[in-house]
């Protein structure tokens, strides 16, 4: 083995958006790790200024095609706080149902098409389908059901059009929602089969002492509401978020990189953080299956993230069934009355990939004067690099190609969403001279 090695992935695959990885080894020592986000910047926080309050949820949806609802939810709640708008319990429940649709669609995509191939030895879900057709078709049908839920509530699956400050432009049709019940019930069973599949995978025995961060709510698994808590004992209202978490701008990235104060340390958000911190709030079926799946929770092995996603799929189907069964009447009005006024509001919700914080300032002209958006992947970016530094020494016995694949697999544990983080990622393993150029199209 040469003294200096480089592990490099010039264009990460099976992740959302464009990034690269670069790791440099001097002997067995990891001397440099860099997640290079070359996804071009789009300046959402810049051009949101001067836009109307009602336009924000339509615009911020476009930050991410996979998790538009997360952006719409964090934005709507933050703007409602700025305007002093209270939404009815019925709207609150329907928003939770909308979010379940996004978790189902996003988690099913990641588990079956993007991540399971790493554990089963395929380069894609498409190749995996040749040998595991039943599993891939199950994943696709689950994803489709999530998308159908989004279509009924949001008008369409990608970039829903029915999210308004105060509620919905139109209440979801009761018949259509109830018509989806047999599919949701199938999905609950399919998500239990998903947990059986992924918990049988061979996980690297590798742990890291994470500072885990998520929302937590006494009465429910966190989606739209909760306090920000950490495994280190932090417990704050969302309004205090910026006093404890700050963004840093690093040279290799068009994404901003969050740290936890005062130590400026990296932290982990997402399914593993949520499951570890909010296990007691899992709905009954999800909890029962999480307890028997063979993993001792809490887990500090990030390769268990795929198992956490499967458990959250059970939870999302379980909750969706409960909400749809109880949906007796379309709420009227479908949204609270909103009176524009100047103000400031912030809110965080749990996107499929983790905590998503928004803050808006509404000006005297009733237009957006300031916007701040902190996506999950930019919060995880420091942790991904820390994970790599910690993980790489365990794969240095492998040849460069195999070691690089292992690093890329580790990154996929995070389900990174690079388009989101741009305001994320290039993998290179450098065991010698660095090649800065991207060779991909």
């Amino acid at each position: 083995m040469p003294a200096n090695r480089t592990f490099e992935v010039k264009a990460l695959s099976r992740v959302e958006g464009e990034g690269a990885l670069y790791v440099k080894l001097e002997g067995d020592r990891v001397s440099h790790v860099e997640l290079n986000i070359y996804e071009p910047p789009r300046f959402y926080e810049g051009f949101l200024r001067g836009r109307e309050v009602r336009e924000v949820s339509d615009i911020v949806a476009r930050i991410c095609g996979i998790c538009p609802v997360a952006y719409q939810m964090s934005a709507s709640h933050a703007l409602e706080k700025a305007l002093g708008v209270d939404v009815s319990p019925a709207i609150r429940t329907l928003r939770r149902l909308l979010y379940c649709g996004e978790w189902i669609e996003s988690h099913a995509l990641h588990v079956y098409l993007l991540h399971a191939p790493d554990f089963l030895g395929y380069e894609s879900g498409i190749s995996m389908a040749a040998d595991h057709k039943e599993a891939v078709e199950r994943g696709l049908r689950m994803k489709k059901i999530g998308n159908e839920l989004l279509e009924i509530l949001g008008g369409r699956a990608i970039h829903p059009i029915n999210v308004a400050v105060g509620g919905f432009y139109r209440a979801p049709n009761k018949q259509k929602l109830r018509g989806l019940l047999p599919d949701l019930e199938w999905g609950l069973q399919a998500s239990i089969e998903t947990l059986d599949l992924v918990s049988s995978f061979d996980f690297p025995a590798w742990e890291h002492e994470y500072e885990l961060v998520s929302l937590q709510h006494a009465d429910e698994y966190p989606l739209n509401h909760g306090q920000v808590v950490s495994s280190g004992g932090l417990r704050i209202d969302v309004e205090d978020y910026e006093n404890h978490f700050q963004e840093r701008h690093l040279p290799q990235s068009t994404a901003l990189h969050s740290v936890m104060l005062p130590e400026e340390k990296s932290y982990l958000v997402g399914p593993l953080a949520r499951l570890n911190l909010c296990f007691d709030q899992l709905p009954a079926t999800a909890r029962e299956h999480a307890e028997r799946c063979g993993i001792d929770w809490p887990s500090h092995n990030n390769f268990h993230s795929i198992v956490a996603r499967a458990i959250e799929l059970i939870a999302a189907f379980e909750e969706a069934i409960e909400i749809v069964r109880a949906y007796q009447a379309e709420p009227s009005p479908s949204r609270a009355v909103v009176e524009l006024r100047p103000g400031v509001g912030c809110h965080a919700t749990e996107a499929p990939r983790g905590l998503l914080y928004h803050r808006y300032e509404i000006g005297e002209d009733h237009l957006i004067a300031h916007a701040k958006i902190v996506p999950p992947t930019s919060q995880n970016q420091g942790q991904i690099e820390a994970d790599l530094r910690n993980y790489v020494p365990s794969v240095t016995h492998l040849d460069d190609q195999a070691a690089t694949q292992k690093c890329e697999h580790l990154i996929r544990n995070y389900d990174p969403c690079i388009s989101c983080a741009t305001h994320f990622l290039t993998l290179t393993l450098d065991r010698g001279e660095r090649t800065a150029e991207r060779s991909t199209l």
Partner: protein, 269 residues
């Protein structure tokens, strides 16, 4: 296997939603993967086959010097090049920078502006290379994408409607939100394809599919201004995901410049 046409999917500045539409075609995805060789599609697979490719789908807009060069190479590599979605066909929402001071945007979002390498404009793929077909939408309609791939396999021209969202509204039996509620709606000047979702949800069309052929957004904006719509609101309505498409751009620039007026024949002066 080697005889199957090859398909490549490329990403520029975008949200990933349009390429996700291919993965969202859950019922057709495995059939598509059987009929074409998915040779390059980073979001879905690790294996990357070298070009040239029979069909290239391009998502996203051109916003960096590197991407300006990359699209030239992609054009050389693809026999049939299709731009998919509003970013690729009109510059996307990030084309709002085309009316702004990009340096000020960078300073506003990033602590170290010197780390950021970007052009001061966001432009469509067709502004850089010859595009063989454009699939509109923000996001595109997955059925149109599957239809496009099927058409190309059969060597026929893809069929996408050229009429406006209004036609889809009528077919859907939606009461017109512009006529009945006086809401400024872009339906009359926006190409069909979405299925007229927004008016069916009791709100205005905001132009996700861009200007239809031979539309007259100036006349429509003038009408809305004359019937009580706030002019800055009309500018913002036109400056959305397809705001930099020429017809919408012309209308918003005019509305931005001053009051929109009509003569007796409702023609713009």
């Amino acid at each position: 296997m080697a005889d199957k046409p090859t398909l490549a999917v490329f990403k520029f500045a975008s949200c990933d939603g349009c390429q996700l539409s291919l993965l969202d075609a859950e019922d057709e995805l495995l059939a598509v993967a059987g009929a074409v060789e998915i040779a390059y599609f980073l979001e879905a697979r690790t294996r990357q086959l070298d070009g040239p490719y029979d069909v290239g789908l391009v998502e996203g807009s051109v916003t960096t010097e590197h991407d300006r060069q990359r699209i030239q190479e992609i054009r050389r590599q693809c026999k049939f090049l299709v731009s998919i979605g509003a970013c690729a066909t009109a510059g996307g929402i990030q084309a709002l920078r085309n009316w702004a001071d990009v340096d000020e945007f960078i300073t506003h979002v990033y602590a170290h502006p010197d780390y950021i390498n970007t052009l001061d404009s966001s432009t469509s793929i067709a502004e850089h290379v010859t595009v063989d077909f454009e699939l509109r939408g923000c996001p595109i309609n997955k059925n149109q994408l599957v239809e496009l791939i099927a058409s190309l396999l059969h060597g026929s021209k893809p069929k996408v409607p050229a009429y406006s969202v209004c036609i889809e509204c009528k077919r859907r039996g939606t009461v017109c939100v512009a006529v009945a509620q006086g809401i400024a709606c872009l339906g009359p000047v926006t190409q069909a394809g979405c299925g007229a979702i927004c008016p069916a949800f009791n709100r205005e069309c905001f132009g996700c599919y861009g200007p239809k052929e031979q539309s007259n957004p100036i006349s429509l904006a003038t009408h809305y201004a004359a019937t009580g719509s706030d002019r800055p609101h009309l500018v913002r309505l036109l400056r959305n995901f397809n705001g930099h498409a020429p017809e919408f751009r012309e209308a918003s620039d005019l509305a931005q410049a001053g009051p929109l007026q009509v003569d007796g024949d409702h023609r713009v002066q």
